[in-house]
């Protein structure tokens, strides 16, 4: 008791003005040099930070924004959209807007037609309500000559202008933010009362594809693990000269272009391909009984397993290399048989490598695109192929962004689960 009182007394006695040789208080001097070190460290990483911001954070942010924000309709038809947002569909007897709104629509259409922006509005509404594109374009072509009564003019032009479902869809797309793309990404849609309903059965695809992607990625990860474990083990125990040779066999395909490896599989596996030819020649199958091994799920699994194998071998190898062989010998000498020694001593030590390999392979696999596109046929496509489709073909970038965001969220959840179960600090990549 007295001791501690004494020491605090002593501490108190220390003059808080400890100074360095040039008379600056030590505390300040320390702070300055710390700040300098921090700046230096920051400046050294600055290029990377800036690069990450530009190439990674910004695009992802943009993607997330695009999935909920789409102003192509309100930008093309601004006044009409503004008025439409406040319009109450249930207030009118026929479910249609009044003359004033139709007048705004005609005026906005004429302007948008002149500015060549009407196509974007028509595309946007077409996402939500198919078959309205030509309705919009047709009306826009004539809009500058429209005269009162506008409502009648529109309805006379095409009876479809009285479709209440289309007007409900238009009211939805008139607002810039929407959850519609996320709904579409999980096979849901709005009905005329703005209630969420299931998409027509013949158009349900995305949920099925998400599950298939997870399932195929799982299968590929397991296959990679089963194939890579013995290979990595062999690599780690062989003498250096031999293991180096084997290592080159692992690395060579790793360094070869993805496209080359995928097309090589096409040459091998197609119906008139090498594998089938050999099987026919050996008399295992008949000439007209050739096996379909590509342009289906099997093709995707085979090619992707081969392509992702090095991502499993390398982390496993790097972990196995560090396990001293004496541990197994010790276990054997203490009476364990080979199997028990493996399960109790060797295997647990390779878990960080397994964890790293499976995480790497699984995450790479669920985002794979080129290989399934080339060899997947109709049932070997993954969700990324549909995302690419919406980016490149349908140009529905908002839906692509929504699908991509869901995939990203899935990866983050996996990562979080992994951290909970195994711990991210157990990860070892080599």
């Amino acid at each position: 008791m007295a001791d501690s009182a004494l020491s605090s007394q002593r501490l108190h006695d220390v003059p808080d003005q400890l100074t360095t040789a040039d008379g600056i208080p030590l505390k300040r001097k320390l702070a300055i040099s710390m700040r300098r070190a921090r700046w230096r460290a920051f400046l050294m990483t600055a290029p990377l930070v800036i690069f990450m911001l530009i190439s990674f954070v910004l695009p992802i942010g943009q993607m997330l924004t695009r999935s909920v924000y789409n102003d192509s309709f309100s930008k093309a038809l601004p006044n009409f959209s503004l008025a439409l947002r406040d319009w109450d569909q249930s207030a009118s007897s026929d479910g249609l807007p009044d003359e004033a709104l139709f007048k705004l629509l005609a005026e906005d259409m004429a302007v948008a037609r002149k500015d060549r922006t009407i196509g974007r509005a028509a595309t946007r509404i077409n996402y939500d309500h198919s078959g309205t594109r030509s309705l919009f374009m047709g009306a826009a072509r004539k809009a500058k000559n429209f005269e009162a009564p506008y409502k009648e003019t529109f309805l006379d032009l095409k009876p479809k202008w009285s479709n209440v479902e289309m007007w409900a869809a238009m009211k939805r797309v008139a607002s810039d933010t929407t959850t519609g793309f996320y709904l579409a990404a999980v096979d849901r849609t709005y009905d005329v009362n703005n209630d969420v309903v299931e998409q027509a059965e013949v158009r349900q695809i995305y949920v099925k594809l998400f599950w298939r992607t997870l399932y195929l990625a799982g299968v590929i990860t397991v296959l990679c693990f089963l194939l890579a474990y013995p290979v990595a083990y062999l690599l780690s125990v062989l003498p250096l000269a031999k293991s180096n040779l084997l290592m080159i066999l692992v690395l060579l395909p790793f360094w070869t272009s993805l496209l080359v490896r995928t097309t090589a599989w096409i040459a091998l596996l197609q119906t008139e391909g090498i594998v089938n030819d050999v099987l026919v020649w050996l008399g295992i199958i008949s000439d007209d009984g050739r096996v379909q091994m590509i342009y289906n799920q099997m093709g995707t699994i085979i090619a992707m397993t081969h392509i992702l194998l090095p991502f499993m071998v390398l982390p496993l190898y790097s972990v196995m290399k560090t396990i001293p062989p004496s541990y197994m010998r010790a276990a054997r000498s203490l009476g364990a048989n080979q199997f028990t020694a493996f399960v109790k001593v060797y295997f647990p030590q390779t878990i960080p490598g397994i964890a790293a390999g499976t995480l790497l392979v699984f995450i790479l696999a669920i985002g794979y695109y080129i290989t399934p596109a080339l060899v997947g046929g109709q049932d070997g496509q993954l969700i990324s192929n549909i995302i690419a489709f919406h980016m490149q073909k349908s140009l529905n970038w908002s839906l692509a962004a929504a699908l991509g965001s869901i995939l990203l969220a899935g990866v983050l959840i996996l990562y979080w689960l992994y951290n909970k179960l195994i711990g991210i600090d157990n990860l070892k990549f080599g």
């Binding site: 500015d115 060549r116 922006t117 009407i118 196509g119 974007r120 028509a122 595309t123 077409n126 996402y127 198919s130 078959g131 309205t132 594109r133 030509s134 374009m137 013949v202 158009r203 349900q204 695809i205 099925k208 594809l209 298939r212 197609q270 119906t271 008139e272 342009y295 046929g377 109709q378 049932d379 496509q381 549909i386 489709f389 980016m391 490149q392 073909k393 349908s394 140009l395 529905n396």
Partner: protein, 358 residues
């Protein structure tokens, strides 16, 4: 010494930068035999005439790249070969430049361009160069008494073997309906109804298990040559070139063909717009369109070119009977309805993808 090195490095940099900007025109098309026909008939003579250089790039159709370049304000393509429905859509969305048809040269016989081009081939933002067609073809060395009608394509009991189809509902749905007995003239009327769409998909269902899907125009001749499919849909010119150029024993079936146009468009904000317009005028002139038809069997978009179409460039093959628009080939044919597709492509694509994945 050091300074000198630095200077020469800077100079070298300037030279390479200079040569990079020295390309005068980037022309984008579909690759393979089709691009080759354009290089021979358009690019080479234009380069010889103007002394400018052309960079040729390939793509797989669609307007995604155009949209991306225009929206990012970084347009590197100058003139692009697109399908009609894409030209219409890109024009409506303000992605391509309007083109005044009065700048186009008159036909060789003096007819004004507006009258010389086939009806429907001049668009407010695009000028057609060819008429092409989706047909189906088979290897006559493997099937002795080959298919004659589009219905035969869907008949796997009469003609066993796999089928190649473009991974896209366009043309497939039309062909399925024609095979199911819908008259060519009524195809889009039927396809405009829910029952009609179901009917088309039901017909596709009958061969679904036997289909190999293709995406690039160069794939179907390859699939046929590899024996991977017994018959496949294809662009007629690609099959013709495999036959005429490489001596493949392929046979085209014109019954149930779906014909379409390819047009030149200039993206908004093209850095070489003047050169692009000059190239456009040059390549769609009577002589050049006829010259292209001697390299590939796509019909020229001008009437006056038709008279000049002769033989394949180095062989004794008459090109006229090979054209999609030749009367004998049009007996049971549908023209792609761009308005129908602009309206319904989102829904039908989704339906098609779901059907494919199911």
């Amino acid at each position: 010494m050091k300074m000198k090195l630095l200077l020469s490095a800077a100079a070298a940099l300037a030279i390479t930068a200079g040569s990079a900007s020295a390309k005068d025109l980037t022309v984008v098309s579909w690759g393979g035999a089709y691009t080759k026909s354009q290089v021979e008939a358009y690019h080479k003579p234009w380069q010889a005439k103007t002394g400018k250089t052309i960079t040729s790039e390939d793509y797989n159709g669609g307007i995604a790249e155009i949209k991306a370049q225009v929206e990012a304000n970084n347009v590197t393509w100058d003139i692009i070969d697109v399908e009609l429905s894409d030209a219409v859509r890109a024009c409506d969305e303000g992605l391509i430049e309007p083109i005044d048809p009065s700048i186009l040269p008159a036909g060789a016989d003096g007819t004004a361009a507006a009258d010389d081009f086939l009806p429907g081939t001049l668009h407010e933002c695009a000028v057609a160069n060819i008429v092409w067609s989706t047909i189906f073809a088979y290897d006559s060395s493997k099937i002795a008494n080959g298919p004659k009608t589009i219905a035969d394509f869907f008949d796997t009991s009469k003609f066993p073997g796999k089928r190649g189809l473009r991974k896209n509902p366009k043309a497939n749905l039309e062909m399925a309906l024609m095979a199911d007995g819908v008259p060519a003239a009524d195809v889009y009327k039927v396809l405009g109804t829910a029952e009609g769409v179901n009917r088309a998909f039901a017909k596709l269902d009958t061969i679904k298990g036997d289909v190999v899907w293709w995406e690039a125009g160069a794939q179907p001749p390859q699939l046929l040559a590899d024996g991977e499919v017994a018959m496949t849909t294809a662009y007629n010119g690609r099959i013709f070139n495999a036959v005429a150029g490489e001596g493949k024993p392929f046979e085209i079936v014109w019954d149930g063909q779906v014909w379409d146009l390819d047009l030149w468009v200039i993206p908004k904000g093209s850095k070489n717009k003047e050169a692009a317009l000059d190239f456009l005028k040059f390549s769609t002139s009577t002589k050049q369109l006829a010259a292209q038809a001697s390299w590939i069997s796509y019909g020229p978009a001008r009437k006056s070119s038709g008279a000049l179409v002769g033989k394949f460039h180095n062989k004794d093959i008459d090109m006229v009977p090979q054209m999609p628009t030749n009367a004998a080939n049009l007996k049971n044919a549908t023209q792609n309805n761009f308005e129908f597709w602009a309206d319904n492509q989102d829904e039908l694509n989704e339906r098609f993808n779901a059907w494919l994945a199911g």
